[in-house]
């Protein structure tokens, strides 16, 4: 056995919390199926031995469907000698044991962590873990990971496994359909090459219709043996109403019930908790949408817009930077560097300190930080799948399904991060539509915060800006859905219970996201400062801005705004922060503000998002997106300006 632990399990069972408890390194823990897009690994010190622990995206069965399940299976098959720690939710054991059976049959070293024992006790369940372990033939540990219960015992069991005192391999086989069982035996006898899982398991996966494995086996076994295998595969295809795969799911479920006979008992559950009543209200037609509005108003407008972009930014910018740091730096730089030329690199109008550091720390970080806090709260409470349920009908009109609300809402925080998250969507078509909409009409939290802060004294302006951006968003989605080939995918999603989030989890998560964001932007901000400074000193900057000026003046904006547009491309938030500065200096009237806000919101994504789009969607679709966005953004701005002129604003 290699010194490696893979944490495997369905979504929403607490894999990531167990990972954190074992390794101490924080990872995004989420209530939404499939947010652990990236694989996280850490180290566990067990008996003076360092063991690598890997957290994987949720997996429902060994036959994967989504891109993330495929990733998990790849990791599993690439590490046949590691220890698999399967995490299951104690309330849904019958549904989760089939994966256990499949892992045992595939020949993995397996330890089972039955998590969320607290929730299952509240539901009135009682489970005899030691008999469960005996029946399955593998070590079983009960945990309440969110409270750290059972973790020491889990570590002890892992130690015993490595010492050889506990056997993590089992000969347990669930009873399955006779015909399929026999076919699996015949097929496995035909498999002559070596594979990372047992041949009987591989044969059953082939019978389940796994296309990826069929290709692998065809390649490894050669055409003549493959032809024989195929005849066996075809021979069972018509035997079952819903196909062999579904038949096996039925059998495995029955086997799971059998394993639990006599050891899983249920008294009547405790009285309905307020969480459950609230959970119903969050998805019911009227109350659901009212709660959604309240969440958006309180979370985005009050917390991110007013508190983050208002109170926090004011304090950091006015007091910390303008009041303390910048005067101190100015004095310092002036004392060290006699030359005006070099001084301006640090403290000039586009200096590293006055612009780069200040924009990053005083304006952008508090806004993005408060958004990430809000988003983590939504994630950990289990609200996101409910949001998906509420928005599914609306999303369908844009060619997306309810799942797409996750990247779209995350886009309100950081469009770059959200573009990466479009991986959770199933079809290429959906991923493109979501990426396009993110690039066009979803303002990131920095933009959103700045724009809300600028416009909030004028409710009419906020409404007009929102209406214009929303209109563009819906129109673009509608057109893409109408003219792109392909179909709107089906929507089905597990809805976990509403859970009271743990503040420490949310804070750690917010922190790790802010850290990701900050490491991403800070060098870019500093770089931009230097580029602008160089451009200004050499005069190139002025001539590029000169190109932008006619466009900007067509929108009725003062020429100074060209800077915000130009640098908005490097960072969206940078452009927004520039706008903030201009508005503070009083150059922009209300009409200018709304026009600039609309145009900047729709305008090009920042360079980081552009790079991610290029990587995820390819050059063709990225260039198409950009080619559409530029004229649309300016046209929308032009229209808004015209409209406001008509009404004499």
């Amino acid at each position: 056995m290699t010194k490696k632990i893979l944490i495997i399990g369905n979504p929403n069972v607490g894999k990531s919390v167990i990972f954190t408890e074992l390794t101490g390194i924080y990872v995004t823990v989420s209530n939404y199926p499939g947010t652990t897009v990236e694989i996280t690994s850490g180290n566990l010190l067990l008996n003076d031995q360092t063991i690598e622990v890997i957290d994987t995206p949720g997996l429902y069965s060994l036959v994967p469907i989504t891109a993330e399940e495929k990733v998990t299976r790849q990791i599993l098959f690439a590490n046949p000698d590691c220890l698999v720690l399967q995490v299951v939710d104690a309330r849904n054991l019958t549904r989760m044991l089939p994966l256990t059976f499949q892992l045992i049959r595939a020949g993995f070293h397996l330890v089972l962590a039955v998590n969320m024992l607290d929730e299952s006790r509240r539901e009135g369940y009682h489970l005899n873990l030691s008999i469960l372990g005996q029946r399955l033939g593998i070590p079983v540990v009960g945990t309440v990971a969110t409270r750290g219960e059972g973790i020491d015992q889990l570590k002890e069991v892992l130690t015993q496994v490595w010492k050889g005192h506990l056997n993590p391999r089992s000969a347990f086989r669930p009873q399955i359909d006779q015909v399929l069982q026999e076919k699996a035996q015949i097929i496995s006898a035909q498999l002559h090459s070596s594979y990372s899982i047992t041949k009987e398991s591989l044969a059953l996966l082939l019978l389940r219709g796994d296309t990826e494995l069929r290709q692998l086996v065809q390649k490894k076994e050669g055409p003549s043996r493959w032809r024989q295998i195929v005849t066996h595969l075809i021979s069972v295809s018509g035997l079952y109403d819903w196909g062999p795969s579904y038949q096996l799911a039925v059998d495995e479920h029955a086997a799971a019930e059998k394993v639990l006979v006599g050891i899983l008992t249920r008294r009547s559950p405790e009285t309905q908790r307020w969480q459950e009543r609230l959970a119903q209200l969050t998805v019911a037609p009227w109350s659901g949408f009212l709660i959604l509005l309240a969440v958006v108003y309180c979370g985005l407008y009050l917390f991110v817009g007013r508190f983050g972009a208002g109170t926090l930014v004011d304090w950091l910018d006015q007091h910390l930077f303008q009041g303390l740091l910048i005067p101190a730096c100015t004095a310092l730089v002036a004392a060290i560097l006699p030359s005006q030329f070099w001084q301006s690199l640090f403290i000039g109008p586009y200096g590293i300190v006055t612009l780069g550091v200040r924009y990053a720390i005083a304006i952008i970080l508090p806004i993005v930080g408060s958004f990430f806090f809000f988003f983590s709260l939504l994630e950990d409470s289990g609200y996101l799948p409910r949001l998906a349920l509420l928005m599914d009908r609306g999303c369908k009109k844009l060619g997306l399904n309810g799942r797409a609300v996750i990247p779209l809402v995350l886009g309100l925080g950081c469009d770059t991060m959200a573009t990466l998250t479009t991986r959770i969507l199933e079809t290429k078509r959906e991923r493109f539509i979501a990426t396009f909409l993110l690039a066009l009409a979803i303002p990131c939290s920095a933009q959103l915060g700045v724009i809300l802060a600028l416009l909030s004294p004028y409710p009419g302006a906020v409404l007009l800006w929102m209406a214009m951006v929303l209109f563009t968003f819906i129109l673009a989605g509608h057109l893409l859905n109408r003219y792109l080939p392909g179909q709107v995918p089906l929507f089905f999603l597990e809805v976990p219970p509403l859970r009271w989030p743990r503040l420490s989890n949310i804070l750690i998560k917010t922190y790790s996201r802010m850290q990701w964001y900050f490491l991403e932007i800070f060098p870019v901000f500093l770089g931009i400062s230097v580029v602008i400074w160089l451009g200004e000193q050499t005069g190139i900057f002025q001539s590029i801005l000169g190109l932008f000026r006619p466009l900007v003046s067509a929108l009725g904006l003062p020429p100074e705004t060209a800077v915000a547009f130009f640098f908005g491309f490097f960072r969206r938030d940078y452009g927004a922060a520039g706008l903030f500065d201009l508005a503070r200096s009083g150059i922009l009237g209300l009409r200018n503000l709304v026009t600039a806000a609309v145009t900047l919101t729709l305008f090009l994504p920042c360079i980081a998002q552009f790079a991610v789009m290029w990587k995820e969607r390819g050059p063709l679709l990225t260039l198409f997106t950009v080619a559409v966005i530029i004229p649309v953004a300016f046209m929308a701005g032009f229209l808004v300006n015209l409209l406001l002129l008509l009404f004499n604003v």
Binding site: A249, P285, F491, F492, P496
Partner: protein, 75 residues
């Protein structure tokens, strides 16, 4: 008794799952893995804005087309 699509149930009603009927094998497989299996009791919690069903301790949100693929027997 003939199985009927889940969409014909009134919100609040319970039934027993008869199976998943769809030519989309991936959908059948996925719903099976989510626990939509014959014989299990299912309760339709709501049907708007999306369908929400409960099977044992699991709640699933479905759109109309998916819900139509799930066949149930009235108890």
């Amino acid at each position: 008794m003939e199985p009927i699509p889940l969409t014909r149930l009134a919100p609040g009603a319970s039934a027993r799952i008869a199976g998943v009927r769809s030519r989309n094998q991936q959908l059948v497989h996925k719903l099976g893995a989510l626990g939509v299996l014959p014989g299990l009791p299912v309760t339709l919690l709501q049907d708007y804005p999306a369908y929400l069903i409960q099977i044992d301790q699991t709640q699933l949100a479905l759109d109309q087309d998916t819900a139509n693929c799930i066949e149930v027997l009235l108890i």
